[in-house]
């Protein structure tokens, strides 16, 4: 294990980065007359979201933030960094699960984004006062549970889907000895199926899980809403619990042992399949929690919210080191801050693109990620 980063890799990364930056710069100077007409970013965003009423969910959210940031006493940079940290925490809830699955089974689960959407959709399903129905069933009914009950129910059901998936799909595939790449494509098929199933079930509209309007208060240089504060508390508590579980409990130690070396873990008496099933349940519930909190934070959600986050999760997991749950946390925070602060000088419709650029750069310089062990990945 060497600390030294290969110099050739850095040179390669720099050249690719410079070429890409030049290309983007060249293209944007050609098309920059549009930007010249609009004096500041906030109005551009407002126009964007006015023109495309169905534009990306996050753009609308940014508009809110930007107008809020214009209030006196609010430091725009501090606000964006703070938003980024919050976003990173919520993202971490989802990506820790992705990382655990990768660590224990080696699977890059492309359907993990849909687990996030599923959580949000289930919470909406249980909490909304609107009539809801199930696919292919003609009855409409109103459940209308309070938010906390709906959220718990959603997490339990989502955890159940994790169990179902492992029991009836992934464990069977592992037993059949299906190759990893094949399993990855199976997860792509699953994500396609789940995405459309959610759209079919809940519909293509943007939904509000909670109707309450968040009140924002001035805390130092930033503005903070009550719901956001609660979300932060919940996500920190849950992440700490996951960390405690992994580091201090017997099961957690067994999980890390399976991540390290499944064969050795099995030989020392750990039930590898049971551990993997537990990981699936945990990952699915964490993703659902992330989806619900994200829906509250963005004050709205949509059937494809997770699909949009999937690549950010991959970026976070890769950045932190594939299969390293704490790496996923660090990676998520970095990605969150980068995504939110990039809106200071890039258009908000490019904020996800910056995260993907980081993903590619990391793979160029340090494919094993920040916390990952150096190993040959090619």
């Amino acid at each position: 294990m060497t600390k030294r980063i290969d110099r050739r890799a850095i040179v390669r990364a720099l050249i690719v980065f410079v070429v890409a930056a030049l290309a983007v710069f060249a293209v944007s100077t050609i098309g920059s007359t549009a930007m010249a007409d609009t004096p500041d970013a906030a109005t551009a965003v407002a126009q964007t979201s006015a023109i495309h009423a169905d534009a990306e969910t996050t753009e609308a959210e940014v508009t809110v933030d930007d107008t809020a940031a214009d209030a006196p006493g609010t430091n725009r940079i501090a606000q964006n960094v703070f938003n980024g940290l919050v976003f990173g925490l919520l993202l971490a809830l989802a990506s820790v699960g992705l990382s655990l699955i990768y660590g224990t089974t080696g699977l890059s689960n492309f359907a993990h984004g849909e687990q996030v959407s599923l959580g949000a959709m289930l919470a909406y399903f249980f909490a909304t006062q609107q009539p809801v129905s199930l696919p292919l069933l003609p009855w409409e009914f109103v459940i209308g549970w309070p938010l906390w009950l709906a959220a718990i129910a959603a997490i339990v059901v989502a955890g159940g889907t994790g169990w179902l998936q492992d029991r009836f799909l992934w464990s069977k595939l592992r037993k059949r000895g299906v190759k990893m790449v094949q399993q990855m494509i199976v997860s792509i098929g699953l994500s396609l199926a789940l995405l459309n199933l959610l759209q079919w079930w809940i519909g293509p509209d943007r939904l509000r899980v909670s109707i309450a309007i968040e009140e924002r208060r001035q805390v130092g240089p930033i503005q903070l809403g009550d719901t956001t504060a609660v979300s932060i508390a919940i996500s920190i508590a849950v992440l700490l619990a996951v960390a405690y579980f992994l580091l201090r409990t017997r099961l957690g130690r067994a999980t890390r042992a399976v991540s390290d070396n499944p064969a050795l873990a099995a030989a020392s008496g750990i039930k590898v399949d049971a551990i993997i099933r537990l990981v699936w349940i945990m990952a699915a519930s964490l993703a659902a929690l992330g989806g619900i909190l994200m829906a509250l934070y963005d004050s709205g959600t949509k059937f494809d919210v997770g699909a949009k986050l999937l690549l950010l999760m991959f970026a976070a997991v890769t950045l932190g080191g594939l299969g390293q749950p704490f790496g996923a946390l660090v990676g998520s925070l970095v990605i969150g801050v980068v995504v939110e602060t990039s809106t200071l000088w890039l258009g908000p419709d490019l904020k996800y693109a910056t995260a993907l650029a980081i993903l590619i750069l990391v793979l160029l310089v340090r494919p094993q990620g920040i916390l990952g062990r150096a190993e040959r990945v090619g």
Binding site: S28, K179, V181, Q182, A193, N196, L346, G347, L350
Partner: protein, 324 residues
């Protein structure tokens, strides 16, 4: 009866030809070389932009095609350079991320003048010069059971060009896969280290395959755009996944697999929608829900295909690239 006509129409439509082309490109990547390119839609989108913008700014058709090809080739080079040395699933993640970046850039408000942001480029802005070349009459033409317009949009003219291109690419795939070059690629697919030990530059061969397949994807993008318009959101991740589904359906590493897969995929999609709207009452599945319903089935099909018959309809189990 209408349903059968719809299926037949879809089977030869330019979209089907475009997806067949994209799948042939992917066949170079995956079928021949074993590369997991999950960003084929990005290559298609670059092809579309390259062609549509060049022609809109007054360039001739041949220049548009060259720009499209050049964009895809450069994209392939930039993409392949850092990633082709990494393990398969890394390549998958990077290609999918890069394709999404292209889409985000394309729909970005900053590039409104160039790409038209999320509304894209209207068909009328770039289709004119291509439609002028049409030898067919400027009216509806019926041939056997099919009726298409002679020249405009989804026309006989585009159809002939599209399928001719498919035939040419099939010929190229057939010749190349039988050539010494193709055998090296197959060797890389089966066992990279073995090929390396024979003194071949694996990296360079992979790069060539990536660029060739990507360029074919760009051509597919042009055909697609000429049948509709340039729309960045139509080239998102689902499009790549459909291309994968239809390639695996027809059979990866086969010559006619992509074409058969494309025809079957789009034909059966129309069939499923038609049958579902006939058989399932409106109260259970309204017209708005038909699309997600049928695409859910596509996802399930992809899962079942990969698990139970990874070689597809025409494929040979021994020629499979799932080697990681």
């Amino acid at each position: 009866m209408d349903l059968i006509y719809d299926i037949l129409r879809e089977a030869i439509a330019p979209t089907t030809a475009a997806f067949a082309l994209a799948a042939i490109g992917l066949n170079f990547h995956f079928g021949l070389t074993g590369l997991l390119n999950m960003g084929q839609a990005g290559f298609m989108l670059l092809g579309m932009y390259g062609y549509a913008i060049t022609v809109r700014e007054g360039g001739p058709i041949w220049l548009g095609v060259i720009v499209a090809i050049a964009c895809a080739a450069v994209f392939g080079l930039i993409l392949g350079w850092p990633t082709l040395k990494l393990r398969g699933d890394y390549l998958a993640i990077v290609t999918i991320a890069a394709a999404e970046m292209i889409r985000y850039l394309g729909r970005s408000q900053n590039l409104n003048d160039l790409t038209g942001a999320s509304t894209g480029i209207r068909g009328n802005d770039f289709k004119g010069s291509f439609e002028m070349l049409s030898p067919f009459p400027d009216s509806q033409v019926t041939f056997l059971v099919w009726t298409f317009h002679g020249t405009r949009s989804t026309s006989w003219w585009l159809l002939v060009v599209g399928w001719t291109l498919v035939a040419l690419m099939l010929l190229m795939y057939w010749r190349l896969s039988k050539s010494p070059w193709g055998r090296v690629l197959k060797g890389i697919r089966e066992d990279e280290d073995a090929v390396r030990s024979l003194g071949k530059n694996v990296y360079s061969y992979k790069m060539q395959a990536l660029v060739i397949g990507g360029v074919i994807g760009a051509l597919a993008g042009i055909i697609w755009a000429l049948g509709a318009s340039v729309q960045p959101d139509s080239m998102g991740r689902p499009t790549t996944f459909w291309i994968w589904t239809l390639l695996l359906l027809g059979g990866a590493a086969t010559i006619f697999g992509p074409v058969l897969g494309s025809i079957l995929f789009w034909g059966s999609l129309v069939a499923v929608k038609g049958l579902a709207s006939l058989l399932i009452p409106e109260t259970l599945l309204n017209t708005q829900e038909l699309e997600p319903f049928s695409l859910t089935l596509v996802g399930i099909t992809l899962m079942c295909l990969v698990i139970f018959r990874p070689q597809g309809i025409l494929g040979d189990k021994k020629e499979l690239a799932f080697n990681d």
